[in-house]
Amino acid sequence: MYVSVKGGEKAINNAHSWLSEIRRGDVNIAELNIKQISEQLTLSVDRVMSEGSLYDKDLSALAIKQSRGDLIEAIFLMRAYRTTLPRIGSSKPIETSKMLCLRRISATFKDIPGKQKLGPTFDYTHRLLDFKLLADGEYEKAKIEKYDDKEIPHVLSFLNKEGLIQKEIPSGKTSKDITRNPINFPLTRSERLQSLSRGDEGFLLGLAYSTQRGYARNHAFVGELRTGYVEVQFEIPELGIEINIADVMFTECESVNQFKGSKKIPAQFTRGYGLVFGQLERKAISMALVDRSMRWKEFGEEYLGVAAQDEEFVISHCDNIQATGFLEHIKLPHYVDFQAELDLVRKIREEYKKNEQRT
């Protein structure tokens, strides 16, 4: 018989006090403030905003501090806060062609209008620990040069003109907001992209890598990668005037994949698309590759039964808050469930013994 038990209240309170103390660390070391985090751990802040699905740097920095730097825990905090916010409305779709770019590169075309601009990147660094950062306060200043303030067109729009690449034309299909409606497979591509954009970077990276190694047969090029600020336009309901309500940093990746053609479509290049908050290019590229591999049906490609082609598998497992919620709940008390299993195993063993004695 199992008797329900109460208790643990003191243990829990004391555990949380110790958590608070250990979060603070050695009191002889200066305490981190939110601005230090949002200014100096920018890519952590970006990841928490992207997967937390809420663009707010201060909140993201707070979540990182509160979670002792555990980014999934921080994302959890952001998601929880996000659900408390009244939704004022939806923006107009953003124009990434008008992005104020910090970085813009193409791995497919060398000479492009707007040129290749590296921006503040880790690429081409030697990945050697920089012991100068152990010392205080030294940094190099960014160089500046004169510029033309022209719009930077998307690289793939040039292929478009020759008809060499599949075009992205609005289908007129309506898509649901997956945060407000239950997910019903099959999904529209818009619903998949919403899900991928808030999906776990590590999971998407692994899946994207699997497609490169041959599990979905799609060899991707980075047609274009750009990071920068985009104006978010929103119509003020009281006035009917559309204003630039927010400036948001995005990273966008358009991948290009060769396509031999099928019964439906002649040979041409096809595209995958990645768009995420912040400067998260590993995630944007991963998103584009996984988006492309899930489009096999649309292009009449063969289904190879691999994970990256299976939208139900990908979308059901890419959300790290759903995943960690289910995974971590098994460490919480399951005494009743386990007691039942224990009884069952004992019973089976007894029967087994009896049978053994009989023979």
Binding site: R189, S197, E238
Partner: protein, 147 residues
Amino acid sequence: MQNETRKQWLSSLATADENYLISLWDNLNMKIEYNWLREPEIGSVMVQGKVGATGDNFNVGEVTITRCSLNLDKKIQGHGYVQGRNKYKSKIAALCDALMQTEKKEIIKRNIIDKLIKYKNNKRNEILSKTEATKVDFFTLVRGEDK
């Protein structure tokens, strides 16, 4: 009132650096009487992207927004829709929006709106000039056998 110019000042107020806007407003030291139509509330706007940059819309994620509405002398309404979670910023934006419709327009324009525009332009120029410095100049090496 021309919607184009109102659109412009509302945009500048919405995306202003909050500390900068607050310091500009506080420096003016204006005492304005107003009534709340809607007290500042924090919420979110869902940001839409386009599939492949040109196709169907999709939801990317939300951005925090604070809004409020007020009126001056029960006649002129001001709306403060701003990025972020700063209620004071939202109130200043609503007051500026309202005052831009009164004879105080020039004071607000000169001391706040124009400065916000300048601040944003400077930021923009800074980014563009740093980005330009990282532009790749390709050159072709002459191969030995071509001599």
